[in-house]
């Protein structure tokens, strides 16, 4: 399952992290080292074992479908890198 340069390039793209070409090979080696160590999980017999996603027994709690916060655009945009009149300013999405 060795992770090659092409896989690192693809994963970095999926993760939206710009990664220079000269970093791909060292990263592939690092990730391979970690994944090789993780491989020992294959030794564990997990046949018929239910995956454990949450240690909290209860299901998702429900609440009334009402607005609980919000309604103040200046608060929401106060940390925005760019904003105008209570709107986020973002790069053009549709050409």
């Amino acid at each position: 399952m060795a992770i090659d340069v092409a896989t690192v390039r693809k994963v970095a793209r999926l993760a939206r992290i710009a990664t220079p070409e000269d970093r791909l090979e060292p990263l592939a080696q690092e990730l391979n080292g970690i994944m090789a160590w993780i491989e020992q999980l294959a030794e564990v017999d997990t046949d018929g074992v239910e995956p454990l996603t949450s240690v909290v027994g209860a299901g998702a709690p429900l609440r009334d479908d009402v607005v609980t916060m919000g309604g103040d655009a200046s608060v929401i945009t106060s940390n925005a890198p760019k904003s105008v009149d209570g709107f986020f300013v973002v790069p053009k999405v549709v050409e």
Partner: protein
């Protein structure tokens, strides 16, 4: 004023109540200590004006007879907790300059109970690290030094700032968080007490997320009683966190000092790992002897899947992190690094904003969740996670609490493990199991190694049974008689 900073939290609250000093005096002493200790790099944001105004308000409340359980006590806050109007960055450049418009539930409960905020504490970036070296603000230096050399040691991580600040008497207690050992390992490295409660005890609302099914807040404190006092304030149901447990919170301090006679203490054989220093083995034996003397029954137990906990963690935690950290896109808050189009802006922002360890974990998480690998890695890890939880379920049929070392070594030198991710990950070998199983775990200082550095022991409890953990910790604290402090060099 140094006498005031050497008080325990409980001692300080008693002194305030007795009128021996005011919160303004107590807070001023701590502000001065922080200013004199900048070489430690524990506080990354100091809020002296806010602290003094909170202290004055506390003194006024106490004069009216309306003091809360923590009234007037100055605390440090790990910079993973959002604090309204005070910069919160998780020690990452991607959140540079972020000033929350809201307060985390845990900190709001501390202020509700009267505590005073001294400032924000350094940590490993996004709580990912075991040495504080991944912080964008530079590492914290442990106040403790080896008697063998003066080299700078790590305070552990990720809550290294919290642990160092408490150990150096810069605050009476601190908030911390623990995803794989981030409260307990730094506590062990600094001679302090730290507890991660049962998953769901503390609300995660307003705490910068790392791995949501594992993250839990808890305190780092000078004594077991102080930790109990802080944890009582920090816990409680919060409708804003869907995994917050709707269960009553006892006054945890009532369990400290309670007899442990007749309790069964499990000793897991799998925690005797290869290359464990003889001193840690010896300390563990000491702990067993103390508990026997206190009337506990020692039971050998087996937690057979222990060795798989870390590899499982390094799938589950990065997977959750890659999802949680997708929110940092440079659009709504934090850093934005422009690119030629939207995707490039995302990519540049995240490349510039995240540190190397954070990127490494996001890449692992993205990989194990990607098409073709999800079942082989992520699902497999979740199944192993259940095996680990089942190990504990079986153990609880035979014992009431479990005693283990906290970490496989004493504090190591800054830079010593930073080029070997797996060596760094192994710091959490004894602590990560409780995160995967959701159990409470407490570390307390139990002795010094031959270089004069503190070593910790860990007590693991049943779900929601922090009470027994505190009783056992109280008995061990008494028997250990640990009162060593780091010699002041800063």
């Amino acid at each position: 004023m140094s006498a005031l900073t050497s008080l325990t939290l409980k001692g300080a609250i008693d002194g305030l109540e007795a009128g021996d000093f005011t919160s303004v005096e107590l807070t001023t002493a701590h502000i001065e200590a922080i200013e004199a200790a900048r070489a430690l790099n524990a506080f990354i944001v100091e809020t002296p004006e806010q602290a003094l105004s909170m202290a004055a308000a506390s003194d006024a409340r106490r004069a009216l007879g309306a003091a809360g359980p923590l009234d007037g006590a100055p605390l440090g806050i790990k910079d993973l907790f959002c604090t309204k109007g005070v910069q919160t960055t998780a020690c990452s450049n991607i959140l540079k300059g972020f000033v929350p418009e809201y307060e985390s539930t845990v900190t709001s409960q501390l202020w509700r109970d009267g505590a005073v905020m001294l400032g924000k504490l350094n940590l490993d970036q996004f709580a990912m690290g075991s040495s504080n070296e991944t912080s964008a603000f530079g590492p914290v230096t442990n106040p403790w030094r080896s008697t063998a050399s003066n080299k700078a040691l790590t305070p552990g991580g990720s809550s290294g700032g919290s642990a160092a600040a408490v150990a150096a008497d810069l605050c009476l207690g601190a908030t911390a968080t623990d995803t794989g050992g981030s409260i307990r390992q730094p506590a062990a490295f600094t001679g302090t007490v730290g507890i991660k409660p049962t998953y769901g005890r503390c609300s995660r609302w307003g705490v910068v997320a790392f791995a949501s099914s594992l993250d839990q807040a808890g305190p780092i404190a000078k004594t077991v009683e102080d930790a109990a006092l802080l944890l009582t304030s920090m816990c409680g149901h919060d409708p804003k966190d869907s995994t917050s447990l709707d269960v009553p919170v006892p006054d945890f301090t009532q369990f400290v000092g309670k007899s442990v006679k007749g309790l069964k203490i499990g000793i897991p054989k799998e925690y005797r790992v290869d290359n464990m220093p003889a001193e840690i083995e010896k300390l563990w034996e000491d702990g067993i002897a103390w508990l026997k003397e206190a009337g506990c029954e020692i039971v050998d137990i087996s937690l057979p899947h222990t060795k798989y906990a870390l590899p499982a963690y390094y799938i589950v935690a990065p997977a959750e992190a890659s999802s949680n950290l997708a929110r940092y896109d440079g659009m709504r808050y934090g850093l934005r690094a422009e690119g030629g189009n939207l995707t490039e802006t995302y990519e540049n922002t995240r490349a510039e904003g995240f540190g190397d360890e954070v990127k490494r974990r996001i890449l692992i998480g993205t990989y194990v969740l990607s098409a073709g690998y999800y079942d082989a890695y992520y699902l497999k890890a979740l199944k192993v996670r259940r095996r680990i939880a089942e190990d504990f379920d079986k153990a609880w049929e035979r014992c009431d609490a479990i005693l283990t070392p906290t970490a496989p070594s004493a504090a190591f030198g800054l830079g010593e493990n930073s080029n070997d991710p797996i060596a760094m990950y192994l710091n959490d070998v004894f602590t990560v199991t409780t995160n995967l199983a959701g159990l409470p775990g407490l570390s307390l200082p139990a002795g010094l190694d031959s270089n004069g550095l503190p070593l910790g022991l860990q007590i693991i409890g049943k779900p929601l049974d922090e009470g027994t953990v505190f009783s056992v910790a109280g008995a061990m604290e008494k028997a250990a008689g640990f009162n060593a402090k780091a010699g002041k060099w800063w």
